[in-house]
Symmetry: C2
Subunit: 251 residues, 2 copies
Amino acid sequence: MIQSLQNGINALMFLSSKRSAGVTEIAGAIGVNKSTAFRIMQTFLTSNIVEKNPETLCYKLGPAILRLSQQYYSGLNAVSISKPYMARLSEGFGESVHLCTLSNNRAVVVEQITADGRLIANAKIGEEEPLHCSSVGKCLLAYADNSRQEKMLRETALEKYTEKTITDETELQRELARIKEKGFAIDDCELSEEIRCIGAPIFNNKGECSFSIGVSGARSRMTQEKIYKIAEGLKKVSEAISSELGYTKTK
Amino acid sequence: MIQSLQNGINALMFLSSKRSAGVTEIAGAIGVNKSTAFRIMQTFLTSNIVEKNPETLCYKLGPAILRLSQQYYSGLNAVSISKPYMARLSEGFGESVHLCTLSNNRAVVVEQITADGRLIANAKIGEEEPLHCSSVGKCLLAYADNSRQEKMLRETALEKYTEKTITDETELQRELARIKEKGFAIDDCELSEEIRCIGAPIFNNKGECSFSIGVSGARSRMTQEKIYKIAEGLKKVSEAISSELGYTKTK
DNA sequence: TTAAAAAGTTGCGCAGGGTGCAACCGATGT
DNA sequence: ACATCGGTTGCACCCTGCGCAACTTTTTAA
Protein backbone atom coordinates (compact mmCIF):
# COMPACT_ATOMS: atom_id res chain seq x y z
CA MET A 1 0.00 0.00 0.00
CA ILE A 2 1.58 3.24 -1.13
CA GLN A 3 0.47 5.89 1.30
CA SER A 4 0.90 9.01 -0.79
CA LEU A 5 -1.00 7.37 -3.60
CA GLN A 6 -3.76 6.41 -1.22
CA ASN A 7 -3.92 10.01 -0.05
CA GLY A 8 -4.42 11.06 -3.63
CA ILE A 9 -7.19 8.53 -4.14
CA ASN A 10 -8.90 9.68 -0.97
CA ALA A 11 -8.72 13.26 -2.16
CA LEU A 12 -10.40 12.30 -5.44
CA MET A 13 -13.13 10.39 -3.65
CA PHE A 14 -13.74 13.36 -1.44
CA LEU A 15 -13.85 15.75 -4.38
CA SER A 16 -16.29 13.50 -6.11
CA SER A 17 -18.61 13.62 -3.12
CA LYS A 18 -18.28 17.35 -2.58
CA ARG A 19 -18.22 18.52 -6.17
CA SER A 20 -15.75 21.33 -5.29
CA ALA A 21 -13.43 22.17 -2.39
CA GLY A 22 -10.34 24.16 -1.38
CA VAL A 23 -7.09 22.72 -0.06
CA THR A 24 -7.84 23.29 3.60
CA GLU A 25 -11.12 21.45 3.36
CA ILE A 26 -9.56 18.61 1.43
CA ALA A 27 -6.71 18.40 3.92
CA GLY A 28 -9.17 18.15 6.78
CA ALA A 29 -11.21 15.50 5.03
CA ILE A 30 -8.36 13.15 4.21
CA GLY A 31 -6.33 13.84 7.33
CA VAL A 32 -3.18 15.48 6.04
CA ASN A 33 -1.56 18.85 6.37
CA LYS A 34 -2.87 21.44 3.96
CA SER A 35 0.52 21.73 2.31
CA THR A 36 0.27 18.07 1.43
CA ALA A 37 -3.22 18.51 0.08
CA PHE A 38 -1.91 21.38 -1.97
CA ARG A 39 0.85 19.26 -3.44
CA ILE A 40 -1.55 16.45 -4.22
CA MET A 41 -3.75 18.87 -6.13
CA GLN A 42 -0.73 20.27 -7.95
CA THR A 43 0.11 16.80 -9.14
CA PHE A 44 -3.42 16.07 -10.30
CA LEU A 45 -3.64 19.45 -11.98
CA THR A 46 -0.80 18.72 -14.35
CA SER A 47 -2.69 15.69 -15.64
CA ASN A 48 -6.07 17.40 -15.77
CA ILE A 49 -7.39 14.87 -13.28
CA VAL A 50 -8.66 17.85 -11.36
CA GLU A 51 -9.14 21.43 -12.43
CA LYS A 52 -8.91 24.59 -10.41
CA ASN A 53 -11.20 27.54 -10.53
CA PRO A 54 -8.68 30.39 -10.66
CA GLU A 55 -11.04 32.76 -8.91
CA THR A 56 -12.31 30.70 -6.00
CA LEU A 57 -9.12 28.57 -5.85
CA CYS A 58 -11.40 25.59 -5.50
CA TYR A 59 -10.67 22.24 -7.08
CA LYS A 60 -13.03 19.90 -8.83
CA LEU A 61 -12.70 16.77 -10.92
CA GLY A 62 -11.43 17.40 -14.40
CA PRO A 63 -11.89 16.00 -17.88
CA ALA A 64 -9.10 13.43 -17.65
CA ILE A 65 -11.20 11.44 -15.23
CA LEU A 66 -13.91 11.31 -17.88
CA ARG A 67 -11.42 10.16 -20.44
CA LEU A 68 -10.17 7.41 -18.17
CA SER A 69 -13.63 6.17 -17.38
CA GLN A 70 -14.57 6.20 -21.00
CA GLN A 71 -12.13 3.40 -21.52
CA TYR A 72 -13.74 1.31 -18.82
CA TYR A 73 -17.13 2.16 -20.15
CA SER A 74 -16.47 1.41 -23.79
CA GLY A 75 -15.15 -2.00 -22.84
CA LEU A 76 -18.71 -2.69 -21.89
CA ASN A 77 -20.21 -2.54 -25.32
CA ALA A 78 -23.07 -4.46 -23.82
CA VAL A 79 -24.03 -1.06 -22.46
CA SER A 80 -24.67 0.54 -25.79
CA ILE A 81 -26.49 -2.52 -27.04
CA SER A 82 -28.67 -2.67 -23.97
CA LYS A 83 -29.56 0.96 -23.71
CA PRO A 84 -32.39 1.10 -26.24
CA TYR A 85 -33.90 -2.07 -24.75
CA MET A 86 -33.64 -0.58 -21.32
CA ALA A 87 -35.35 2.58 -22.44
CA ARG A 88 -38.19 0.58 -23.92
CA LEU A 89 -38.60 -1.48 -20.75
CA SER A 90 -38.61 1.61 -18.62
CA GLU A 91 -41.15 3.28 -20.82
CA GLY A 92 -43.33 0.21 -20.99
CA PHE A 93 -43.52 -0.47 -17.29
CA GLY A 94 -42.94 3.02 -15.94
CA GLU A 95 -40.13 1.80 -13.72
CA SER A 96 -36.37 2.25 -13.50
CA VAL A 97 -34.10 -0.20 -15.27
CA HIS A 98 -30.52 -1.14 -14.36
CA LEU A 99 -27.71 -2.94 -16.11
CA CYS A 100 -25.14 -4.56 -13.82
CA THR A 101 -21.94 -6.49 -14.01
CA LEU A 102 -19.71 -8.30 -11.53
CA SER A 103 -16.83 -6.65 -9.78
CA ASN A 104 -15.28 -7.78 -6.53
CA ASN A 105 -18.21 -9.86 -5.41
CA ARG A 106 -20.62 -7.02 -5.93
CA ALA A 107 -23.04 -6.14 -8.72
CA VAL A 108 -21.95 -2.80 -10.16
CA VAL A 109 -24.54 -0.63 -11.86
CA VAL A 110 -23.06 0.33 -15.21
CA GLU A 111 -26.13 1.85 -16.80
CA GLN A 112 -29.47 3.07 -15.61
CA ILE A 113 -32.64 4.43 -17.09
CA THR A 114 -34.58 6.34 -14.48
CA ALA A 115 -38.33 6.23 -14.75
CA ASP A 116 -40.46 9.34 -14.55
CA GLY A 117 -42.60 9.62 -11.49
CA ARG A 118 -42.64 10.82 -7.94
CA LEU A 119 -41.47 7.64 -6.30
CA ILE A 120 -39.01 5.69 -8.34
CA ALA A 121 -36.12 3.36 -7.71
CA ASN A 122 -32.84 5.05 -8.28
CA ALA A 123 -29.18 4.05 -8.12
CA LYS A 124 -26.06 5.88 -9.13
CA ILE A 125 -24.02 4.59 -11.98
CA GLY A 126 -20.98 2.97 -10.40
CA GLU A 127 -22.93 1.99 -7.33
CA GLU A 128 -22.45 -1.50 -6.00
CA GLU A 129 -25.14 -3.83 -4.75
CA PRO A 130 -24.75 -7.03 -2.76
CA LEU A 131 -25.01 -10.30 -4.63
CA HIS A 132 -27.28 -12.18 -2.30
CA CYS A 133 -30.20 -9.80 -1.98
CA SER A 134 -30.64 -7.93 -5.22
CA SER A 135 -32.28 -9.40 -8.27
CA VAL A 136 -29.38 -8.40 -10.50
CA GLY A 137 -26.87 -9.77 -8.00
CA LYS A 138 -28.68 -13.07 -7.59
CA CYS A 139 -28.76 -13.51 -11.36
CA LEU A 140 -25.05 -12.96 -11.67
CA LEU A 141 -24.49 -15.40 -8.84
CA ALA A 142 -26.93 -18.03 -10.06
CA TYR A 143 -25.46 -18.22 -13.53
CA ALA A 144 -21.79 -17.95 -12.60
CA ASP A 145 -19.86 -21.14 -13.26
CA ASN A 146 -19.44 -23.42 -10.28
CA SER A 147 -15.96 -22.51 -9.15
CA ARG A 148 -16.64 -18.81 -9.38
CA GLN A 149 -19.93 -19.16 -7.61
CA GLU A 150 -18.33 -21.06 -4.77
CA LYS A 151 -15.59 -18.48 -4.48
CA MET A 152 -18.08 -15.65 -4.38
CA LEU A 153 -20.25 -17.36 -1.80
CA ARG A 154 -17.19 -18.06 0.32
CA GLU A 155 -16.11 -14.45 0.21
CA THR A 156 -19.51 -12.90 0.68
CA ALA A 157 -21.03 -12.35 4.09
CA LEU A 158 -24.79 -12.81 3.80
CA GLU A 159 -25.47 -9.55 5.50
CA LYS A 160 -29.04 -8.93 6.63
CA TYR A 161 -30.60 -5.80 5.18
CA THR A 162 -34.29 -6.42 5.83
CA GLU A 163 -36.54 -9.05 7.33
CA LYS A 164 -36.66 -10.82 4.00
CA THR A 165 -32.95 -10.93 3.23
CA ILE A 166 -31.76 -14.48 2.72
CA THR A 167 -28.94 -14.99 5.20
CA ASP A 168 -28.75 -18.76 5.23
CA GLU A 169 -26.42 -20.28 2.70
CA THR A 170 -28.37 -23.43 1.92
CA GLU A 171 -31.50 -21.35 1.59
CA LEU A 172 -29.64 -19.12 -0.86
CA GLN A 173 -28.50 -22.17 -2.81
CA ARG A 174 -32.13 -23.23 -3.18
CA GLU A 175 -33.05 -19.72 -4.32
CA LEU A 176 -30.29 -19.79 -6.94
CA ALA A 177 -31.58 -23.12 -8.21
CA ARG A 178 -35.10 -21.68 -8.48
CA ILE A 179 -33.74 -18.71 -10.42
CA LYS A 180 -32.00 -20.93 -12.95
CA GLU A 181 -35.19 -22.90 -13.33
CA LYS A 182 -37.39 -19.87 -13.97
CA GLY A 183 -34.82 -17.81 -15.85
CA PHE A 184 -35.29 -14.70 -13.77
CA ALA A 185 -34.78 -13.50 -10.20
CA ILE A 186 -36.99 -11.56 -7.84
CA ASP A 187 -35.81 -9.35 -5.05
CA ASP A 188 -38.85 -9.13 -2.83
CA CYS A 189 -37.82 -6.30 -0.52
CA GLU A 190 -34.68 -8.17 0.42
CA LEU A 191 -32.31 -5.24 0.11
CA SER A 192 -34.62 -2.35 0.81
CA GLU A 193 -37.97 -2.59 2.61
CA GLU A 194 -39.76 -0.59 -0.02
CA ILE A 195 -38.37 -1.88 -3.26
CA ARG A 196 -39.17 -4.92 -5.34
CA CYS A 197 -37.01 -5.78 -8.29
CA ILE A 198 -36.95 -8.37 -11.08
CA GLY A 199 -33.73 -9.34 -12.79
CA ALA A 200 -32.65 -11.49 -15.70
CA PRO A 201 -29.24 -12.72 -16.88
CA ILE A 202 -27.45 -11.59 -20.02
CA PHE A 203 -25.01 -13.98 -21.66
CA ASN A 204 -22.06 -13.15 -23.86
CA ASN A 205 -20.68 -15.02 -26.85
CA LYS A 206 -18.75 -17.35 -24.56
CA GLY A 207 -21.95 -18.32 -22.77
CA GLU A 208 -20.91 -16.54 -19.58
CA CYS A 209 -23.43 -14.50 -17.67
CA SER A 210 -21.47 -11.28 -17.90
CA PHE A 211 -24.31 -8.87 -17.16
CA SER A 212 -27.73 -8.80 -15.65
CA ILE A 213 -30.61 -6.45 -16.18
CA GLY A 214 -33.22 -5.48 -13.63
CA VAL A 215 -36.45 -3.53 -13.27
CA SER A 216 -37.05 -1.93 -9.88
CA GLY A 217 -40.02 -0.16 -8.41
CA ALA A 218 -41.79 0.77 -5.22
CA ARG A 219 -43.28 -2.24 -3.43
CA SER A 220 -46.82 -0.95 -3.63
CA ARG A 221 -46.80 -0.79 -7.42
CA MET A 222 -45.05 -4.11 -7.88
CA THR A 223 -47.98 -6.45 -7.58
CA GLN A 224 -47.70 -10.15 -8.28
CA GLU A 225 -49.39 -9.62 -11.58
CA LYS A 226 -47.11 -6.79 -12.64
CA ILE A 227 -44.06 -8.73 -11.55
CA TYR A 228 -44.91 -11.56 -13.90
CA LYS A 229 -45.60 -9.21 -16.75
CA ILE A 230 -42.23 -7.58 -16.17
CA ALA A 231 -40.52 -10.95 -15.89
CA GLU A 232 -41.93 -11.91 -19.28
CA GLY A 233 -40.76 -8.67 -20.87
CA LEU A 234 -37.40 -8.90 -19.18
CA LYS A 235 -36.75 -12.43 -20.38
CA LYS A 236 -37.43 -11.42 -23.97
CA VAL A 237 -35.17 -8.42 -23.67
CA SER A 238 -32.33 -10.28 -21.99
CA GLU A 239 -32.45 -12.92 -24.69
CA ALA A 240 -32.39 -10.27 -27.37
CA ILE A 241 -29.39 -8.54 -25.82
CA SER A 242 -27.60 -11.85 -25.30
CA SER A 243 -28.06 -12.77 -28.91
CA GLU A 244 -26.74 -9.36 -29.99
CA LEU A 245 -23.71 -10.10 -27.89
CA GLY A 246 -23.19 -13.25 -29.87
CA TYR A 247 -24.72 -15.75 -27.49
CA THR A 248 -26.22 -18.86 -28.97
CA LYS A 249 -28.08 -21.36 -26.89
CA THR A 250 -26.06 -24.52 -27.06
CA LYS A 251 -28.41 -26.83 -25.34
CA MET B 1 4.78 17.34 -7.68
CA ILE B 2 4.43 14.12 -5.73
CA GLN B 3 6.33 11.49 -7.60
CA SER B 4 4.65 8.35 -6.34
CA LEU B 5 1.28 9.89 -7.08
CA GLN B 6 2.42 10.81 -10.56
CA ASN B 7 3.56 7.23 -11.07
CA GLY B 8 0.07 6.11 -10.15
CA ILE B 9 -1.53 8.53 -12.59
CA ASN B 10 0.81 7.40 -15.34
CA ALA B 11 -0.13 3.82 -14.64
CA LEU B 12 -3.83 4.65 -14.97
CA MET B 13 -3.27 6.54 -18.21
CA PHE B 14 -1.37 3.59 -19.55
CA LEU B 15 -4.06 1.14 -18.50
CA SER B 16 -6.67 3.29 -20.14
CA SER B 17 -4.76 3.17 -23.42
CA LYS B 18 -4.02 -0.54 -23.24
CA ARG B 19 -7.27 -1.81 -21.80
CA SER B 20 -5.46 -4.50 -19.80
CA ALA B 21 -1.86 -5.23 -18.75
CA GLY B 22 0.31 -7.10 -16.27
CA VAL B 23 2.71 -5.54 -13.78
CA THR B 24 5.83 -6.06 -15.85
CA GLU B 25 4.31 -4.34 -18.83
CA ILE B 26 3.04 -1.48 -16.70
CA ALA B 27 6.42 -1.14 -15.00
CA GLY B 28 8.12 -0.89 -18.37
CA ALA B 29 5.64 1.66 -19.65
CA ILE B 30 5.90 4.06 -16.74
CA GLY B 31 9.58 3.48 -16.03
CA VAL B 32 9.63 1.91 -12.58
CA ASN B 33 10.64 -1.39 -11.15
CA LYS B 34 7.99 -4.06 -11.42
CA SER B 35 7.76 -4.31 -7.66
CA THR B 36 6.76 -0.66 -7.61
CA ALA B 37 4.20 -1.22 -10.32
CA PHE B 38 2.87 -4.11 -8.30
CA ARG B 39 2.48 -1.95 -5.20
CA ILE B 40 0.78 0.80 -7.18
CA MET B 41 -1.73 -1.72 -8.46
CA GLN B 42 -2.23 -3.08 -4.93
CA THR B 43 -3.13 0.39 -3.78
CA PHE B 44 -5.55 1.00 -6.62
CA LEU B 45 -7.08 -2.42 -6.11
CA THR B 46 -8.22 -1.68 -2.58
CA SER B 47 -10.22 1.28 -3.88
CA ASN B 48 -11.55 -0.53 -6.93
CA ILE B 49 -9.85 2.00 -9.16
CA VAL B 50 -8.48 -0.97 -11.00
CA GLU B 51 -9.51 -4.58 -10.96
CA LYS B 52 -7.48 -7.68 -11.49
CA ASN B 53 -8.37 -10.69 -13.50
CA PRO B 54 -7.47 -13.48 -11.08
CA GLU B 55 -6.64 -15.87 -13.90
CA THR B 56 -4.50 -13.78 -16.20
CA LEU B 57 -3.25 -11.56 -13.34
CA CYS B 58 -3.86 -8.65 -15.64
CA TYR B 59 -5.14 -5.32 -14.40
CA LYS B 60 -7.73 -3.08 -15.97
CA LEU B 61 -9.62 0.01 -14.93
CA GLY B 62 -12.33 -0.66 -12.38
CA PRO B 63 -15.76 0.62 -11.50
CA ALA B 64 -14.58 3.28 -9.06
CA ILE B 65 -13.23 5.25 -11.97
CA LEU B 66 -16.70 5.22 -13.44
CA ARG B 67 -18.16 6.41 -10.19
CA LEU B 68 -15.69 9.27 -10.00
CA SER B 69 -16.34 10.37 -13.53
CA GLN B 70 -20.05 10.19 -12.98
CA GLN B 71 -19.69 13.08 -10.63
CA TYR B 72 -17.90 15.18 -13.21
CA TYR B 73 -20.40 14.15 -15.80
CA SER B 74 -23.54 14.80 -13.83
CA GLY B 75 -22.37 18.33 -13.11
CA LEU B 76 -22.94 18.79 -16.79
CA ASN B 77 -26.66 18.47 -16.88
CA ALA B 78 -26.48 20.25 -20.16
CA VAL B 79 -25.41 16.87 -21.43
CA SER B 80 -28.67 15.14 -20.72
CA ILE B 81 -30.66 18.05 -22.06
CA SER B 82 -28.63 18.17 -25.23
CA LYS B 83 -28.56 14.50 -26.01
CA PRO B 84 -31.95 14.13 -27.68
CA TYR B 85 -31.31 17.25 -29.76
CA MET B 86 -27.94 15.87 -30.75
CA ALA B 87 -29.48 12.59 -31.79
CA ARG B 88 -32.00 14.39 -33.96
CA LEU B 89 -29.31 16.53 -35.60
CA SER B 90 -27.19 13.49 -36.28
CA GLU B 91 -30.12 11.61 -37.75
CA GLY B 92 -31.24 14.57 -39.82
CA PHE B 93 -27.90 15.35 -41.43
CA GLY B 94 -26.28 11.93 -41.24
CA GLU B 95 -23.22 13.36 -39.53
CA SER B 96 -21.60 13.12 -36.11
CA VAL B 97 -22.51 15.64 -33.44
CA HIS B 98 -20.36 16.81 -30.51
CA LEU B 99 -21.00 18.70 -27.34
CA CYS B 100 -18.02 20.54 -25.87
CA THR B 101 -17.07 22.65 -22.90
CA LEU B 102 -14.01 24.64 -21.86
CA SER B 103 -11.24 23.19 -19.79
CA ASN B 104 -7.69 24.47 -19.63
CA ASN B 105 -7.88 26.43 -22.84
CA ARG B 106 -9.13 23.45 -24.75
CA ALA B 107 -12.56 22.37 -25.91
CA VAL B 108 -13.34 19.04 -24.22
CA VAL B 109 -15.78 16.69 -25.90
CA VAL B 110 -18.29 15.72 -23.23
CA GLU B 111 -20.83 14.00 -25.42
CA GLN B 112 -20.93 12.63 -28.89
CA ILE B 113 -23.41 11.05 -31.23
CA THR B 114 -21.64 9.10 -33.92
CA ALA B 115 -23.30 8.99 -37.30
CA ASP B 116 -23.75 5.78 -39.22
CA GLY B 117 -21.73 5.44 -42.35
CA ARG B 118 -18.42 4.37 -43.69
CA LEU B 119 -16.59 7.65 -43.35
CA ILE B 120 -17.66 9.68 -40.36
CA ALA B 121 -16.10 12.17 -38.03
CA ASN B 122 -15.33 10.64 -34.68
CA ALA B 123 -13.85 11.86 -31.40
CA LYS B 124 -13.53 10.20 -28.05
CA ILE B 125 -15.46 11.53 -25.14
CA GLY B 126 -12.95 13.34 -22.99
CA GLU B 127 -10.87 14.30 -26.00
CA GLU B 128 -9.62 17.86 -26.21
CA GLU B 129 -9.58 20.05 -29.27
CA PRO B 130 -7.74 23.32 -29.79
CA LEU B 131 -9.73 26.51 -29.46
CA HIS B 132 -8.49 28.34 -32.51
CA CYS B 133 -9.16 25.82 -35.22
CA SER B 134 -12.25 23.84 -34.33
CA SER B 135 -15.78 25.12 -34.78
CA VAL B 136 -16.70 24.23 -31.21
CA GLY B 137 -13.53 25.80 -29.86
CA LYS B 138 -13.96 29.00 -31.84
CA CYS B 139 -17.50 29.33 -30.52
CA LEU B 140 -16.38 28.98 -26.92
CA LEU B 141 -13.65 31.52 -27.60
CA ALA B 142 -15.81 33.97 -29.48
CA TYR B 143 -18.50 34.15 -26.84
CA ALA B 144 -16.23 34.11 -23.78
CA ASP B 145 -16.29 37.38 -21.89
CA ASN B 146 -13.47 39.77 -22.70
CA SER B 147 -11.09 39.09 -19.86
CA ARG B 148 -11.38 35.35 -20.26
CA GLN B 149 -10.98 35.56 -23.98
CA GLU B 150 -7.85 37.65 -23.64
CA LYS B 151 -6.42 35.24 -21.12
CA MET B 152 -7.13 32.26 -23.34
CA LEU B 153 -5.65 33.92 -26.38
CA ARG B 154 -2.57 34.86 -24.40
CA GLU B 155 -2.09 31.30 -23.20
CA THR B 156 -2.86 29.57 -26.47
CA ALA B 157 -0.23 29.04 -29.12
CA LEU B 158 -1.93 29.27 -32.52
CA GLU B 159 -0.48 26.03 -33.67
CA LYS B 160 -0.72 25.25 -37.37
CA TYR B 161 -2.51 22.00 -38.13
CA THR B 162 -3.33 22.44 -41.81
CA GLU B 163 -2.89 24.97 -44.58
CA LYS B 164 -6.10 26.65 -43.51
CA THR B 165 -5.45 26.93 -39.77
CA ILE B 166 -5.62 30.53 -38.64
CA THR B 167 -2.30 31.25 -36.97
CA ASP B 168 -2.37 35.02 -36.98
CA GLU B 169 -3.93 36.59 -33.92
CA THR B 170 -5.51 39.63 -35.56
CA GLU B 171 -6.89 37.37 -38.25
CA LEU B 172 -8.36 35.17 -35.52
CA GLN B 173 -9.89 38.23 -33.86
CA ARG B 174 -11.64 39.07 -37.12
CA GLU B 175 -12.87 35.48 -37.39
CA LEU B 176 -14.28 35.63 -33.86
CA ALA B 177 -16.10 38.85 -34.71
CA ARG B 178 -17.58 37.23 -37.80
CA ILE B 179 -18.73 34.27 -35.70
CA LYS B 180 -20.54 36.50 -33.24
CA GLU B 181 -22.17 38.29 -36.13
CA LYS B 182 -23.41 35.14 -37.79
CA GLY B 183 -24.12 33.18 -34.64
CA PHE B 184 -22.21 30.09 -35.70
CA ALA B 185 -18.68 29.03 -36.54
CA ILE B 186 -17.23 27.02 -39.38
CA ASP B 187 -14.09 24.95 -39.25
CA ASP B 188 -13.19 24.64 -42.89
CA CYS B 189 -10.52 21.94 -42.69
CA GLU B 190 -8.55 24.00 -40.21
CA LEU B 191 -7.82 21.18 -37.78
CA SER B 192 -7.89 18.20 -40.08
CA GLU B 193 -7.50 18.31 -43.86
CA GLU B 194 -10.50 16.16 -44.46
CA ILE B 195 -13.06 17.44 -42.00
CA ARG B 196 -15.43 20.35 -42.09
CA CYS B 197 -17.39 21.24 -39.00
CA ILE B 198 -20.06 23.75 -37.99
CA GLY B 199 -20.48 24.86 -34.40
CA ALA B 200 -22.89 27.00 -32.40
CA PRO B 201 -22.75 28.39 -28.86
CA ILE B 202 -24.94 27.26 -25.98
CA PHE B 203 -25.68 29.74 -23.20
CA ASN B 204 -26.56 29.00 -19.60
CA ASN B 205 -28.89 30.87 -17.29
CA LYS B 206 -26.15 33.38 -16.47
CA GLY B 207 -25.74 34.18 -20.12
CA GLU B 208 -22.32 32.56 -20.28
CA CYS B 209 -21.40 30.44 -23.26
CA SER B 210 -20.71 27.33 -21.23
CA PHE B 211 -20.98 24.78 -24.00
CA SER B 212 -20.87 24.57 -27.75
CA ILE B 213 -22.32 22.04 -30.13
CA GLY B 214 -20.90 21.01 -33.45
CA VAL B 215 -21.68 18.89 -36.50
CA SER B 216 -18.69 17.36 -38.27
CA GLY B 217 -18.35 15.48 -41.50
CA ALA B 218 -16.05 14.55 -44.31
CA ARG B 219 -15.08 17.51 -46.50
CA SER B 220 -16.53 16.04 -49.64
CA ARG B 221 -20.02 15.76 -48.20
CA MET B 222 -19.96 19.17 -46.53
CA THR B 223 -20.86 21.34 -49.47
CA GLN B 224 -21.58 25.03 -49.11
CA GLU B 225 -25.26 24.28 -49.40
CA LYS B 226 -25.24 21.55 -46.76
CA ILE B 227 -23.17 23.72 -44.42
CA TYR B 228 -25.79 26.42 -44.45
CA LYS B 229 -28.58 23.95 -43.92
CA ILE B 230 -26.71 22.53 -40.94
CA ALA B 231 -25.98 26.00 -39.60
CA GLU B 232 -29.69 26.77 -39.65
CA GLY B 233 -30.58 23.58 -37.85
CA LEU B 234 -27.76 24.03 -35.38
CA LYS B 235 -28.80 27.55 -34.48
CA LYS B 236 -32.31 26.42 -33.71
CA VAL B 237 -31.06 23.55 -31.60
CA SER B 238 -28.51 25.61 -29.69
CA GLU B 239 -31.20 28.17 -28.90
CA ALA B 240 -33.54 25.46 -27.71
CA ILE B 241 -30.90 23.93 -25.45
CA SER B 242 -29.91 27.35 -24.14
CA SER B 243 -33.47 28.14 -23.24
CA GLU B 244 -33.83 24.78 -21.48
CA LEU B 245 -30.75 25.74 -19.48
CA GLY B 246 -32.57 28.87 -18.39
CA TYR B 247 -31.04 31.33 -20.81
CA THR B 248 -33.12 34.32 -21.78
CA LYS B 249 -31.98 36.75 -24.38
CA THR B 250 -31.56 40.06 -22.58
CA LYS B 251 -30.95 42.24 -25.52
C1' DT C 1 -9.38 52.34 6.93
C1' DT C 2 -7.09 49.27 9.58
C1' DA C 3 -6.60 45.16 11.87
C1' DA C 4 -7.38 40.47 12.39
C1' DA C 5 -8.58 36.06 10.77
C1' DA C 6 -8.74 32.65 7.29
C1' DA C 7 -7.12 30.36 3.22
C1' DG C 8 -3.43 29.47 -0.12
C1' DT C 9 1.54 28.97 -1.08
C1' DT C 10 6.53 28.09 -0.26
C1' DG C 11 11.08 26.66 2.07
C1' DC C 12 13.18 23.58 5.22
C1' DG C 13 14.70 19.56 7.60
C1' DC C 14 13.65 15.10 9.39
C1' DA C 15 12.44 10.40 9.12
C1' DG C 16 9.02 7.52 7.27
C1' DG C 17 8.26 5.06 3.49
C1' DG C 18 8.81 4.41 -1.49
C1' DT C 19 12.15 2.44 -4.31
C1' DG C 20 15.15 -1.02 -6.65
C1' DC C 21 17.42 -5.22 -5.99
C1' DA C 22 17.41 -9.90 -5.59
C1' DA C 23 15.49 -13.98 -4.05
C1' DC C 24 11.41 -16.75 -4.30
C1' DC C 25 7.18 -18.78 -6.23
C1' DG C 26 4.26 -20.71 -9.91
C1' DA C 27 2.92 -21.40 -14.46
C1' DT C 28 4.01 -22.42 -19.20
C1' DG C 29 6.32 -24.52 -22.72
C1' DT C 30 10.26 -27.06 -24.69
C1' DA D 1 12.88 -32.33 -15.98
C1' DC D 2 14.61 -28.01 -16.96
C1' DA D 3 14.47 -23.34 -18.40
C1' DT D 4 12.07 -19.14 -18.96
C1' DC D 5 9.00 -15.67 -17.87
C1' DG D 6 5.89 -13.07 -14.99
C1' DG D 7 4.14 -12.16 -10.35
C1' DT D 8 5.12 -11.59 -5.42
C1' DT D 9 7.81 -10.64 -1.17
C1' DG D 10 11.75 -9.21 2.16
C1' DC D 11 15.24 -6.04 2.80
C1' DA D 12 18.03 -2.03 3.19
C1' DC D 13 19.16 2.40 1.51
C1' DC D 14 18.29 6.95 0.94
C1' DC D 15 15.05 9.65 -1.58
C1' DT D 16 11.12 12.28 -1.07
C1' DG D 17 6.81 13.07 0.99
C1' DC D 18 5.46 15.08 5.12
C1' DG D 19 4.42 18.51 8.80
C1' DC D 20 5.87 22.74 10.55
C1' DA D 21 6.16 27.41 10.31
C1' DA D 22 6.85 31.53 7.85
C1' DC D 23 4.91 34.24 4.26
C1' DT D 24 1.33 35.95 1.02
C1' DT D 25 -3.19 36.94 -0.27
C1' DT D 26 -7.98 37.33 0.43
C1' DT D 27 -11.90 38.00 3.30
C1' DT D 28 -14.23 39.57 7.40
C1' DA D 29 -15.15 42.58 10.87
C1' DA D 30 -14.65 46.33 13.82
